[in-house]
Amino acid sequence: MANLHSDGSFIESSILLQEYGLLVGDRAHLPAHPALSGGYLGLGTESATVTKTLADIGSGVAGTISESGAVVPDDFNPSTVSATVVRKGKGRSRSDFLKTYDRTGMFLEQALAFDAASIRGNTIVGMVAEAAATATADVTPGSGSSLTWAKLQEAKQTLVETGQQFMDGDLLCVLHPKQWSNLETAIIGTGLGDALTHTAEAYNIQYARSIGYQGRYFGIDVFTSTRVPTANGGADSRGALIAPGGVVWAEGLLEDDPDGFMDILDGGRLRIERERDASRAVKAYYYNFLIGVSLGEDARVVTITSDR
C-alpha cells in the first residue's frame, strides 16, 4: 500500500477503517442488538428531533363473523416516539512517547479503533440506561439489597405479563457493575457454579469486550455500565431490562472534509480528526458523533433497582 501522506495518515486511515468496521459490525456492538435495532428511528441532524409513528403490526386476533355479517376494519393503534439528536465528542491526546507503539514503532491503529468504538459504545449504553430509567414498571429486592436471579427473572416475567413478544436474545439488560457482581455472587450461593453460563456463541462475543458485554443468561444479553443512574438518594442503582421497541434512538451522519486529517467511519456515524502539535510532540484525536436516545414503548421496559 502506498503511503500517500508523509505522516503516514493514509495507512492509519485504512487500518482504522477496517478495525473500526470489524468492531461495530459485531453483535456485541450495542446498536446492532435486536432490542435497540428494533427502535431505530433513522437519521437526523444536530439538535433535530426525529419522530416516528409505530403501528401495532402483528397484534390482535380475528373476530367471529356471523353469516352475511360484515367485518368492520379497525385502525392500527399507532404510538409516536421521538429522539433528539445531539453531538457527542471526545478528545484524546497521545504523546509521541506513549508506550502504545508496537514493536515496529507504529502506533497501534487497532487500539485507536478500539478506543473510538468503546467510547461511542459506552456513551450509547449510558444514554440507554438513563432513558430506560424513566419507565413505569420496576422490580427490586429492596433498597440496599443485592440483586438476585429471581428478581432478574421477575423483570422478564413482568414483560411477559404486559404482553411483550420476544425470543431468546431479544432482551437487553443494562446493569451497574455492582449489580452484576451481586448476580455473580448469587450464582456461587446457589452452588451451581458455571451451570448458568452463557451459550457458546455468546462466549465468542465476549471477546469483543468494548462495551461491557457480560454474556447471555436466560435469554437476556447483559451489559454493564458505570453510567447506570442512581436511585433512592444514591443508595441504589437503577438498571433496566429492555425488549425491542422499549428504547428508541436516532443518529446523524457526519460529512468528510478533504484535509487529509479526518476519517469518516461506519458510513459517517463516527468522525475522527487528527491534530498535530509538534511543539509538544503530541498528536490529538477527536471523536465526534451524533446520537439521541429516548424511552420508546413504556411497557417494554422494566427497571431493576438494587444495591449500588
Partner: protein, 234 residues
C-alpha cells in the same frame, strides 16, 4: 558522583525517607461517576417502604443532552427533556420542576453538583460525598424529609396499587422465609420484609374502609312472637 535523590513534598528533612504521595486535591475528591443533573418524577403506581413508612418511589429524569428529547446543554450541564417529560405526564406522572419542592427542603435543591475526579457529579439532597470513594453517605433524616415532602404533593396510592404491593411483599417474604432457618442472610431479609409487609397492610387497611352492609332491622320471628304475646297479655 553526586547521587540524585527524590525530592520529598515535605520541605523539612525527614528520617522516614521518600514518601510517595498523591496531590492533596485528588485524594480529597470523591470518586463519583461524572454525570448530568436530573428532575425527580413520581409515577402514581410506584410506592415503596422506607423507614417504616410508605413513601413515593422517585424516578430520575435525566437532563443529559440527547436523552429523552433533551436538546443541547443549557450551560448547567443539562437541558430540558421535553419529550420524556411530556411522555411521563401523559402516563400520569408528576414531575417536580421546582427542585426546592416549594421550600420544603429549607431552600436547598433536591439535586446538587459536587466536584469529583474527572468533572462534576450530581447527587441527591440527602447524599453526602465521601472523599476518595465512589459511594455516598445517606443522611436518613434528610432522606425522609424529602420523601415526606413529595408524599404530601402527590395523590395517595390507589387501593389496587397497595394490594399489588402487599402481594409482592408477601411473595418475597415467603421466598426468604423458606430459607431463613439455615441462612442468616435470608433470616434478616425475611425480618425486613415482614416489617415492610406490616406497613403495606396498614396502608391498604387505611385506604379501604371496612364495607358496611345494610343490617336486618326486622326482629327475628322469636322476638316478634314474644312481643306479640306480651302485647296480648297487656
Amino acid at each position: 558522583m553526586t547521587k540524585v535523590r527524590f525530592q520529598t513534598a515535605d520541605p523539612e528533612p525527614s528520617r522516614q525517607g521518600y514518601q510517595p504521595r498523591k496531590p492533596a486535591a485528588a485524594v480529597e475528591l470523591p470518586r463519583l461517576q461524572p454525570g448530568h443533573p436530573w428532575l425527580y418524577a413520581h409515577h402514581p403506581s410506584r410506592w415503596r417502604v422506607e423507614g417504616r413508612e410508605l413513601v413515593p418511589d422517585l424516578v430520575q429524569v435525566s437532563l443529559q443532552p440527547g436523552v429523552g428529547g433533551t436538546g443541547r446543554e443549557d450551560g448547567t450541564g443539562g437541558g430540558i427533556p421535553d419529550g420524556a417529560l411530556l411522555e411521563m405526564q401523559r402516563r400520569g406522572a408528576v414531575v417536580f420542576f421546582d427542585t426546592t419542592l416549594g421550600g420544603a427542603l429549607d431552600g436547598e435543591s433536591y439535586v446538587a453538583r459536587v466536584r469529583t475526579r474527572g468533572g462534576y457529579a450530581w447527587i441527591d439532597y440527602a447524599a453526602e460525598p465521601i472523599a476518595n470513594s465512589p459511594q455516598v453517605r445517606i443522611d436518613h433524616d434528610k432522606r425522609m424529609r424529602l420523601l415526606r415532602a413529595v408524599r404530601d404533593m402527590v395523590p395517595a396510592p390507589e387501593p389496587h396499587i397497595l394490594e399489588a404491593g402487599v402481594d409482592r411483599c408477601e411473595r418475597d417474604h415467603a421466598a426468604a422465609y423458606a430459607d431463613a432457618d439455615r441462612n442468616p442472610i435470608k433470616q434478616r431479609e425475611a425480618d425486613r420484609l415482614a416489617a415492610e409487609l406490616e406497613v403495606w397492610r396498614a396502608a391498604l387497611e387505611q385506604s379501604t374502609p371496612t364495607p358496611t352492609f345494610p343490617t336486618n332491622t326486622r326482629p327475628s320471628r322469636g322476638k316478634r312472637s314474644r312481643a306479640k304475646s306480651a302485647a296480648a297479655e297487656e
